[in-house]
């Protein structure tokens, strides 16, 4: 098992490459979902305001 983590002396290179890849992929997943959720929330706010028949203020949008 230790041998696996040592990567034949290349541990620092191999694991940092895989680590950065994992981080970048996770950030991309998080960002895509956050944007979708943010836009859904905004559309919901605008929809409720329109249903109430009143002009939204800049702050509310």
């Amino acid at each position: 098992m230790t041998e696996f983590f040592l990567m034949g002396g290349y541990a620092a290179y191999v694991w940092s490459a895989y680590g950065i890849t994992l981080i970048v992929l996770m950030v991309n997943i998080w960002a895509a979902y956050r944007r979708h959720a943010g836009m859904l929330a905004r559309a919901g706010r605008e929809g409720r305001l329109e249903a109430s028949g009143r002009q939204p203020t800049v702050r509310e949008i």
Partner: protein
């Protein structure tokens, strides 16, 4: 006829929004399984290289990242062109969604390449290498596309001007691919995409192919989610969006 109908449906925001929402979970599950399996194959099952030992295992994240950067660019440029020619908003929306994904995969390709280069070439970076320069240009094209868009208040104008940049930049994609053949410098030549058989044994190649497919499926997943967000951004005030969020009853 079926194709024409389908093409028209692809111009309809609610149709594309629901299609993307339905596809996303399938891409998510299969992408994660493929990448997990490919990583296990690349890190554990594949034998060490006779020359680079275990150091070569960086290939399993480096090559898929580089490939995805170019694929994302082609998706971005093609849909931007379709949007420009047929004035299709959904196509521009797809191009916008592909840009940050392509930028991050290209960034990954550069970083993992640098990490791989240090023990094998003795340096993280070489300014004179054509592959490295054309890959860096790819990153700048993605970033330039996003910055250019952000400089317009009018979204329609941003769509049209940024589409021109995206299409012109396509020239760089074959340059990236052939750079290692046209200018023989530090970066090694092609391993898989050659006219003759791939220059890699099957037990090393299989995990790489699994990773490439896995990265592609993950890209498709995130493209779906980003497109959904982009559609809501563009269509926020449409009636179908209000129904979706419960603001207006159907």
């Amino acid at each position: 006829m079926g194709f024409v109908r389908w093409f028209h449906q692809l111009a309809s925001p609610p149709y594309v929004y629901r299609l993307a929402g339905r596809l996303a979970p399938w891409f998510a599950v299969s992408g994660v399984i493929l990448i997990a399996g490919g990583s296990y194959g690349g890190l554990v099952l594949a034998p060490p290289d006779y020359l680079q030992g275990d150091g070569y295992r960086i290939i399993y994240v480096h090559v898929p990242s580089a490939y995805l950067g170019m694929l994302a660019y082609m998706v971005m440029a093609t849909s931007a062109a379709v949007g420009f020619i047929w004035r299709m908003k959904m196509a521009h929306g797809l191009a916008v969604s592909a840009a940050p994904l392509g930028a991050s995969f290209t960034f990954l390709a550069l970083v993992t390449g640098g990490i791989w280069g240090k023990p094998m070439w003795g340096t993280y970076w070489q300014w004179a290498d054509a592959r490295l320069m054309s890959e860096l240009l790819l990153l700048f094209l993605f970033l330039g596309y996003m910055v250019l868009r952000a400089s317009f208040d009018d979204r329609e104008k941003a769509d049209r001007v940024s589409a021109i940049l995206a299409v012109v930049g396509v020239v760089n994609v074959p340059i990236i691919h052939y750079s290692v053949e046209w200018w023989s410098t530090l970066h090694q030549g092609p391993t898989i995409a050659r006219l003759d058989a791939p220059a890699i044994t099957m037990d090393m190649l299989a995990p790489l192919l699994v990773m490439i497919v896995g990265f592609t499926v993950l890209f498709a997943w995130l493209l779906c989610k980003r497109l959904q967000g982009e559609i809501l951004d563009r269509e926020g005030r449409a009636r179908w969006v209000a129904q979706l969020t419960g603001g207006v009853s159907a």
